[in-house]
Symmetry: C2
C-alpha cells in the first residue's frame, strides 16, 4: 500500500482524523526522564503507545531531534512505530526544499534512512525540487501550501493572475505533480476560509492541517472547511497540547485523554457518522 | 565580528568572491577513500586545505551529510574550518523553514550544534519563521530569493501588485528583516537579469549566487548584474565543478586548480582591481 492508501485505512480503522505531532522538548519532560540517555526516544515511544489506537498518523518534527543530536533516536522511534503499530503512517515533518541533486539526498534521508512514509516539502523552489521525492512511488509528498502561522501571509497570500500563491501551489499539486497520487498539502486549521478554497481546488487530496491544539484553531470550522464528502480528507495535527497535557509523571495518561478528547471533538463535526460512511 | 563583517574581510584578504560548496558524494570519491570510515570528513577537509586561501566562504550542504548519517562528520568539518582557517565563514546550506518554536530548534541545530556562521533559510513561511534565526545577532541569515533551478519560476516569478514574488522577498529582507545587518539573499547566477533586479533593490546586501560551475551560469554576466560598486557583494558558489575536477587521487590538486581558475575568472570581471578598492 502507498502512503495515501495507508492513511485512508488508518482513518477508517481508528475512526480518527487526528495526527499526533512528536515535537520532543526535553525541558518539558517529566522529572523521571530528565538527563536520561535516550530520553527523547523514551518520551516519544511512550506517547506513541498511549495514543496509537486514536490516531491516523504520527508526525515527528525533525528539528527537535536535530537540535539535540538525536537522529539515531528518531531512526529508532520510526522503526518502533512501524514494528509496534503497523498501518499507522509516519509523516516526517522536515519541510525540505532544494534543487534536484540535493533534493535526492534529502529523499534518501527521509525515506531510506528514517523510513518515513511521507515527508513535508517546501514548494518555493518549484517542480524540479519536488520530483526527486515523487520518484519514491509509495511515499507521500506533503507540500506546504497555506501555513498556520501569521507570517504565512507574507508570501502565500500574494495574488498573481487572479490567484493567490497558495492557491497556485494547490493547483500545481493537483494538476501537475499528482500523477501518481502521492501528493498532499499543508493548510493551517487557523485559516478555515483558505482551507475551504484549497479543498475546492484539490478534490479529495489529503490535507495536513496543523493548528487545532496550542495554536487555537477551531475544530468545527476546520472540519466544515476541509473535510471531504465522506467525512475524511484531513490529517488534523496536534503536538504540544497532547505531548505536554501533563508536566508530571502521568504524561502518558494525560496524552491519551487529550488525544481521545481531540479525536472525539473532531468526530463530532465529521460529515457522516463513521458507521454509515460508504468507504 | 558578525557574519557580514567576516565575509567582507574574507573577500578582501583572499581577493576572492568564490565560495566552495561542500556537497560530498561518496560515489564520486577517489578509490583510496571508498568505504573508509570518516571518508566524508576526510574528502571535505582535503578540499578545504587545498582551497582555503582562494575562497571567501565554504558552504557545506547538509543533505549530503544527512543522507549518510554523517552529522558528526559535519560537526567535525566545521570545527576544523574554524580552527585551521579562522576568518573564512561557513555557510550551512540547509534551507530551513518552519514556524517560530520549530525554527528556534533549527537555529540551535545550525548555530549551536554545527557552529555555522550563516544559514540558508526558505522565506515561504514569512517573517515569524525567520525571526528565530535573526535572534542570533552575529549570525547570517541567507534567504532564498530567486533560485538557480528551472522550477524556481513556478512560485518565485509570479507577479503580485506589480512585483514578482522574489522581488518582494528581496524587499522584505532589505526593508523589514535586516535591522541588525544580518541578511543576505540567494539568487542564481543562471538568471543574471533577475540578479540585477535584486541588486537594485537591496543596496550592498550580500548575494549568494550558485550556478557558475556545473549549472553553467555565465561569470561575466553574473558579475555585471550582481557586484556592488566596490566590486564585492557576491558569494559565487561552485560545488561539483571544483570537488570533482578530477575523479582520481589528484583531486585536491585539481580542486585547487579549479578554484584558482574560478577565482581568477571572477576577478577579471570585478568592477575595480582589488588593489585600488577603497574599502
Amino acid at each position: 500500500m502507498n502512503f495515501i492508501q495507508t492513511l485512508a485505512a488508518a482513518w477508517k480503522k481508528n475512526d480518527s482524523l487526528l495526527c499526533v505531532g512528536l515535537d520532543p522538548d526535553p525541558a518539558r519532560f517529566p522529572a523521571s526522564l530528565r538527563g536520561k540517555d535516550e530520553a527523547i526516544f523514551e518520551f516519544c515511544a511512550t506517547i506513541v503507545t498511549a495514543t496509537a489506537d486514536l490516531v491516523c498518523a504520527f508526525k515527528p518534527q525533525i528539528a527537535y531531534f536535530a537540535a539535540h543530536r538525536a537522529e539515531a533516536q528518531l531512526e529508532a522511534l520510526i522503526a518502533h512505530i512501524h514494528a509496534a503499530h503497523p498501518g499507522i503512517p509516519v509523516i516526517l515533518d522536515a519541510k525540505r526544499g532544494d534543487i534536484g541533486d540535493t533534493a535526492a539526498q534529502y529523499a534518501v534521508e527521509a525515506f531510506e534512512r528514517f523510513r518515513a512514509d511521507a515527508l513535508t516539502v517546501n514548494p518555493y523552489m518549484g517542480r524540479d525540487s519536488i520530483a526527486p521525492y515523487l520518484a519514491y512511488a509509495d511515499k507521500g509528498v506533503i507540500l506546504l501550501c497555506r501555513t498556520s502561522n501569521p507570517g504565512g501571509g507574507d508570501v502565500q497570500t500574494l495574488e498573481a493572475d487572479g490567484e493567490r500563491v497558495y492557491e497556485r501551489v494547490a493547483r500545481m499539486a493537483a494538476e501537475e505533480w499528482n500523477e501518481n497520487g502521492q501528493c498532499a498539502l499543508v493548510v493551517g486549521a487557523t485559516y478555515p476560509a483558505e482551507l475551504a478554497r484549497v479543498r475546492a481546488r484539490v478534490g479529495d487530496m489529503p490535507i495536513l492541517s496543523p493548528g487545532i491544539g496550542a495554536q487555537g484553531g477551531n475544530i468545527a470550522a476546520a472540519l466544515q472547511a476541509g473535510q471531504t464528502r465522506d467525512g475524511t480528507g484531513l490529517i488534523l495535527n496536534s503536538s504540544r497540547a497532547i505531548l505536554y497535557a501533563s508536566a508530571g509523571e502521568d504524561y502518558a495518561h494525560a496524552a491519551r485523554q487529550g488525544a481521545k478528547a481531540a479525536r472525539d471533538a473532531i468526530n463530532a463535526h465529521r460529515r457522516r457518522p463513521p458507521e454509515t460512511a460508504n468507504d
